[in-house]
């Protein structure tokens, strides 16, 4: 089963966009539910993004790409 990792809708208020500042695991890595996988920065605030399920990570948005809330940035194949 394929599960998207999206930028959560509830991390910050407003429609401001963020930037993916880091992927904390490599493309193709196996991650566990709850693992920190990425960081997004908005207005000098760093937000941590967790894996919603366990699986193999496929990165869709690269470091330094601009993202909005709800944007799929990767997927996890269980």
């Amino acid at each position: 089963m394929n599960t998207p990792i999206t930028v959560p809708e509830d991390l910050w208020e407003g429609d401001g966009e963020g930037v993916i500042t880091a992927w904390l695991v490599d493309d193709g890595s196996e991650v566990a539910q709850g693992d920190l996988v990425a960081e997004v920065m908005v207005e000098k605030a760093q937000y941590e993004i967790e894996a919603p399920v366990s699986g193999v990570l496929t990165i869709a948005k690269q470091e330094d790409e601009v993202v909005a809330k709800g944007t799929p940035i990767a997927s996890l194949e269980a």
Partner: protein, 248 residues
């Protein structure tokens, strides 16, 4: 309220200004956020002024093409590069800088779970503290031309006194969030001295942007007689007394 908790040479949630190395201070700030994430406290704080020097930036700067050369040059000049967990761009740390960090547990969906609230949670009592010391024109806002500028600096006369940044992390096992909000206040030295360090980094990475000393101000410029060591506990008390902390 958090209990005292030792991290290396530092004590979390102490009401005193501490004097670690830059590296120890950064590690202690991480520990402060961890403490809230692990559910050990809903609020923690730290005030520190480094006894050494460093140019501190988010790790993503390591990806810049000229970074290895810049790191070598700054290191030779006595400003070794260190990494921090909050956002923004390079900021000098030295004995001329006082840092305050606050870690707060917040409920998602509540009024306290957004970055603007976080900046006011730190910045408003900071402005009140300055007001009580007789500085009547302190506010939050941008300082164009300043290094690591943002919308929520603590300014005096429109010039940047305190730079602010944040890190957000889920609290383990629930939907609550933990916020680390940090402020770095230039106390001593001239703004020219610290701006020159950041501009040296800019030159070393071949970035044409340069920052302006006129956009910064040091606490010593507005309160020359202030004994910072004895004044910081009052600032901490104002930060800790603020409402808006979600109960654990």
């Amino acid at each position: 309220m958090a209990s005292l908790f030792d991290v290396s040479s530092m004590t979390l949630s102490s009401m005193s200004l501490q004097h670690p190395t830059v590296e120890e201070g950064l590690v202690a700030e991480e520990a402060l956020l961890d403490m809230v994430c692990q559910g050990e406290a809903s609020l923690g704080w730290l005030a520190w002024s480094p006894r050494d020097r460093g140019l501190v930036m988010p790790r993503r700067h390591e990806r810049l093409a000229g970074f290895p050369d810049a790191r070598a040059r700054l290191g030779q000049a006595g400003w070794p590069i260190r990494f921090r967990s909050t956002g923004g761009t390079p900021v000098p740390q030295s004995p001329a800088v006082v840092n305050l960090a606050l870690a707060v547990r917040c409920r998602v969906g509540g009024s306290a779970a957004h970055l603007e609230w976080g900046y006011h949670r730190l910045g408003d009592p900071w402005c009140d503290w300055l007001g009580a010391l007789g500085v009547t024109d302190a506010d939050l806002g941008a300082a164009p031309g300043a290094y690591c500028d943002g919308r929520f600096n603590v300014r005096v006369s429109g010039r940047k006194l305190v730079g602010t940044a944040q890190r957000w992390r889920r609290v383990r096992g629930c939907r609550d969030m933990a916020l680390l909000v940090h402020g770095a206040m230039q106390v001593d030295d001239t703004p020219e001295a610290l701006v020159a360090v950041v501009n040296a980094f800019q030159a070393a990475i071949d970035d044409p942007q340069r920052f302006q000393a006129a956009s910064h101000i040091a606490l010593r410029d507005v309160l020359p007689e202030l004994d910072v060591e004895t004044a910081i506990p009052d600032l901490l008390e104002r930060l800790v007394a603020e409402e808006g902390v979600a109960p654990v």
